[in-house]
């Protein structure tokens, strides 16, 4: 049923058209409880076990706003350099959908808690682009539906659906950019860099898990093209289901090439929702709606207005941590990094991890080397983000410490890290389980040395005779016997001691 869309070569697209982007990011807050009820806000759980009359939309139940969610919303607004509303309300967005218990979403409509901000985004080559923020507002998440029957478990062809409302009512902040223009060929990269910057910011503020793979950070990308030099925006499409940073870039790029092909052919773009398809990086049209949406917004009568005092806003402003990009600048200075070294750190997403590793006691050179090299390779081969690797900065710091003290060789250290990544426990547990510690007990080593010397008396004689370099053969034999767990330098010392050379 999907027809392969005609695509224009990207170089031609950017030669003929100017892209306009609008990004809507939904962030699930990591509060203890939901937006309007005291149910736990936690990922997973048996279906319909984190529910109550409020989030199930039972007749008679009433919402009450989670104060911590409001604080998080204000803090996010402040971090995005927004104005904070003096007075704002929730509204009801009315539409029917089975995963929405009340058949309206309690959301902020024309009175967002934060508006008119910006964020400076660093591109791969270090260029800084300012993205203007239109608004950040509070709302609630929907439940989840499971489609049963049919071939794919997708909505089409399903025989019936099963609903779980554990996620219904989880606090969301929706962050909407103003139209991003003038980015030309870099538009897809800007989109990715923007979402990356948001993710880093939200993580630094500890307000969300920001896991795109689990849906706690979701991005809808609006894309339109206008002929070069034009000033009136073209018709846009909104691409949903974009589940990774890389996909953000791919989705925008795909839509640009698809739009361009249609426009160049004299066609027109249909304003519609499209779904990103991870497998081939394309987008597919959603079902066309029969009638235009009319959400019949009106102020939520069950919730009273929010009027943050300026004192409260200032108190919250004081809790905003240093922003990741400011921190980057400071770290570059503190660690004396070249632009290129900093870029490696930023591109691999390692900077905060390295900093945390340094905070845990490692030197910045060691920490940098581990994250940018070995761990980055592991992230690539395991197809995950560096930050999502199953190892903490403290664990990396511990490994570095063990290498420093000679208890691990670099080779062993990598095996320890592998064990941690494979979920075998923390470094010391992995060492214990895999028996990886450097053999530093001289008596055990001496036995191995003696054995090796006895096995090769001719070599022993050579060494005794002054040919110290012949010791290499004995070192090799000892290392083989200890399965590489001995410290080679110490083995050499012991051999020389033993033969009395």
């Amino acid at each position: 049923m999907t027809t392969t869309a005609e695509l224009m070569d990207y170089a031609e697209v950017v030669e003929r058209y100017d892209p306009v982007l609008g990004l809507e990011v939904h962030v699930e807050l990591s509060t203890n409880t939901k937006m309007f009820c005291g149910c736990p806000n936690s990922f997973g759980g048996d279906p319909n076990t984190h529910v109550c009359p409020v989030c199930l939309g039972l007749p008679g139940a009433l919402p009450v706003v989670n104060g911590t969610a409001v604080e998080s919303a204000i803090r996010i607004g402040l971090a995005l350099n927004c104005d904070i509303a003096e007075w704002c309300r929730f509204a009801r967005k009315n539409y029917f959908y089975p995963d929405m218990p009340k058949n309206f979403q309690t959301s902020q409509y024309d009175e967002p808690i934060a508006f008119d901000g910006y964020i400076d985004v660093v591109l791969d080559d270090g260029e800084v682009v300012r993205v203007d923020i239109e608004r950040a507002h509070m709302e609630e998440d929907t439940g989840k539906s499971l489609h049963v029957g049919g071939a794919t478990g997708r909505i089409h062809g399903a025989e019936h659906s099963l609903l779980d409302y554990n996620r219904a009512g989880v606090p969301l902040i929706e962050i909407v950019t103003k139209p991003i223009t003038g980015m030309g060929e870099r538009a897809p990269e800007v989109a990715r860099a923007y979402v990356t910057a948001l993710r880093d910011l939200l993580r630094a503020m500890d307000v969300s898990d920001v896991r795109m793979d689990q849906g706690s950070l979701r991005c809808d990308a609006n894309v339109s093209l206008m002929p070069k030099g034009a000033s009136e925006f073209g018709t846009r499409t909104e691409t949903k289901n974009v589940n990774s940073l890389r996909s953000v870039e791919r989705a925008v790029r795909h839509e640009m090439t698809r739009h361009a092909a249609i426009l160049a052919d004299g066609g027109s773009i249909k304003q519609e929702t499209r779904h990103f398809q991870e497998a081939d990086g394309t987008t597919a049209a959603g079902r066309t709606k029969e009638t235009a949406e009319d959400y019949r917004y009106f102020p939520e009568p069950d919730l009273v207005p929010i009027a943050p005092t300026r004192e409260w806003v200032e108190q919250l402003r004081a809790t905003i941590p240093e922003m990741p990009w400011e921190r980057r600048k400071r770290i570059q200075d503190d660690w004396n990094l070249t632009d290129e070294e900093l870029r490696d750190l930023v591109n691999t997403g390692a900077i905060d991890l390295v900093a945390a590793t340094v905070d845990a006691g490692a030197t910045q050179a060691d920490a940098r080397s581990w994250w940018v090299q070995y761990l980055n390779q592991q992230a690539t081969s395991r197809e995950t983000e560096l930050a999502d690797l199953a190892i903490t900065p403290a664990q990396v710091a511990r490994v570095i410490e063990l290498v420093g003290s000679g208890e691990l060789t670099n080779k062993l250290a990598r095996q320890v890290v592998d064990g941690v990544l494979d979920g075998e426990g923390d470094p010391d547990q992995v060492i214990e389980k895999r028996g990886l510690k450097v053999v530093s007990d001289d008596s055990a080593l001496l036995a191995a040395v003696d054995e090796a010397l006895a096995a090769q008396p001719d070599v022993a004689d050579k060494i005794r005779g002054g040919k110290v370099q012949a010791a290499g053969a004995i070192v090799g034999a000892v290392m083989k016997a200890t399965k590489g767990q001995a410290d080679a330098a110490r083995v050499r010392e012991l051999i020389l001691e033993r033969v009395g050379a």
């Binding site: 984190h50 009450v64 989670n66 409001v70 539409y95 099963l162 009638t291 919730l303 009273v304």
Partner: protein, 99 residues
């Protein structure tokens, strides 16, 4: 003067998810027209200088502490369900897309 057509009433019924009958459409169109005529009177005094009132009480900033409260068990949650399966509410196949 007619405020509302039969087609508009049909559209409203669709928006409100009610499969009203043809006969009801006729009745409701007439009645809604009459009612709208009467209520349109609010426009006479609703000047631009008058702020709207959405809430009867002048309260602001009513918040709940971010503390978990006991909710319903799965059985209680599903107790009123017309159909349930595997701890979930079972509903007929959904045609529309998620919003």
């Amino acid at each position: 003067m007619s405020n509302i057509s039969r087609d508009e009433v049909a559209h409203l019924a669709k928006l409100a998810r009610m499969a009203v009958t043809e006969e009801e459409l006729d009745t409701f169109a007439g009645q809604l027209d009459q009612i709208l005529d009467a209520v349109a009177k609010v426009g006479e005094v609703a000047g631009d200088d008058i702020p709207p009132t959405s809430h009867a009480v002048p309260l602001t900033n009513v918040f709940r502490p971010d503390e978990v409260r006991p909710g319903l068990s799965q059985d209680e949650a599903l107790s009123g369900a017309p159909a349930a399966e595997e701890g979930r509410f079972r509903v007929p196949r959904i045609l529309g897309e998620e919003q």
